[in-house]
Symmetry: C2
DNA sequence: TACCTTTGTTATGTAGAACATAACTACAAC
DNA sequence: GTTGTAGTTATGTTCTACATAACAAAGGTA
């Protein structure tokens, strides 16, 4: 009996035991590298389900599970009869599908919050590059609606003003990115509430700089405007240390 | 005959013809909103495949395709016998799965490139907040290896230096993000090549500012360092207009 | 009593067959 | 030449069956 056991051990060593991945996982990977290897371009026709199944030696169900994933990522599109074609994936689309502040650990939320500060501090140069007269008028309209009293209106205008800044960058990806991250910011704001004090530079001030000031002025102004948030980040940093 | 046609038109209007979605798509959506509605938290046990299938009136295969997608997004994990549990998704993981410069349209690549500039310009304040003595030493080591001649070494050191900056932000999400975007930058660099001229401020200069200068100095320094890239962005802008 | 083996149950993983459906093809009829 | 009809093809969907891992409970031995 002991003999057979040791024999089995030897056999185990020969077999590739690292089979943690399910068949569907493996097929998904195989397909990904296959597409890459073949240098398929969007619109190209892909092999049929049955061909893939036969080629990889798995059932059609497995192949369909893998394809279903690629479809969910927007990597492929399927049409009856014609087959499947490689698609242009929407890079932010699949990102959006996992963004749920409720199931994200705080550490990630903090990171996202820090990312926001980096982004907003970095906007200045691009803003001065792309700003138009109409943009400034739009900002003017937003600022004019601000009321110092209401907390709800404050947040709403906060979003409107900063959102407009992102929109002015002429960078749709960046704008969409910010839009997706907004709910997370809201979530952090809840933590932040107790510490929040308005910065020394208002939206109106920023707009004025944007109109008549220099890029450098704007960078410095934005830094002061975001001061409360930076203070909170500092607060987190110290708490973790 | 004409009568019946008009009748059909009316009926069409009543029926929800927008059935472009496959069963798997619908189940995926249903499950997503179900999890959200029930306010499940990571680790919570989810219904069994057969229960879902019965509840929604579809076959188990369909349910499995939908679950397979959620699994690919990292939203759920499955364990034999125990069932499925809600997982903490890796927000960047699913992002990474669609990042392939070969199948992305140029417009997106430009956006990503702009995003990079915004990020790097925004790093300054966070850098000064988190920088340590060891970080500066690491940068020193990187800078000391730079050789002015080789083009290949230049790019390598470029990545090392800027990558280290991201790492210094103490923001893993941001760092990973940059790391994922790197291949895309490489791709853009190919376009940029013809126009590239080194900026007026070197990595060594930036390091010096980081050591003894002010945040403001660093922001301005980074802007000059990135000048060639900004020039290229301007070039794109004018070409599009 | 304590430990260990066996057996059973449960839920996911995989396979295979069958039919439904949309879209394209080609032939035929008027 | 247009219309209509049947056939073909590949995805969409369902059903059944079995494999496998993990856990639970029962039962036997020291």
């Amino acid at each position: 009996m002991d003999d057979s056991k040791t024999t089995v051990k030897h056999l185990e060593f020969d077999l590739p035991k690292l089979n943690n991945l399910t068949m569907a996982d493996q097929v998904e990977l195989k397909l990904r590298e296959y597409f890459k290897k073949k240098a398929f371009k969007p619109g190209d026709l892909l092999p049929k389900e049955l061909e893939i199944a036969a080629s990889l030696g798995v059932s059609r169900n497995i192949v369909r599970e893998a394809l279903s994933r690629l479809k969910a990522f927007g990597l492929i599109e399927t049409k009856k009869k014609r087959g499947m074609v490689l698609a242009e994936p929407d890079i932010l689309g699949s990102f959006e599908k996992v963004l749920d502040p409720l199931i994200m650990p705080d550490s990630i939320l903090y990171d996202i919050f820090g990312l926001r500060l980096v982004l907003e501090m970095g906007l200045a140069d691009v803003l001065f590059m792309y700003k138009t007269e109409k943009d400034l008028q739009d900002l003017e309209k937003i600022v004019s609606k601000e009321k110092p009293d209401s907390e709800k209106f404050r947040i709403k205008n906060e979003i409107a003003f900063h959102g407009k800044l992102y929109a002015m960058t002429n960078n749709d990806t960046l704008k969409r990115f910010q839009n997706m991250l907004l709910p997370l910011f809201d979530y952090v704001v809840a933590f932040e509430k107790d510490h929040y004090k308005p910065g020394g530079i208002s939206h109106a001030d920023l707009l004025q700089i944007l109109k008549t000031g220099s890029v450098e002025d704007f960078r410095n102004g934005m830094r002061i405007h975001l001061e409360p948030h930076f203070a909170w980040l500092e607060h987190i940093k110290n708490k973790e240390a």
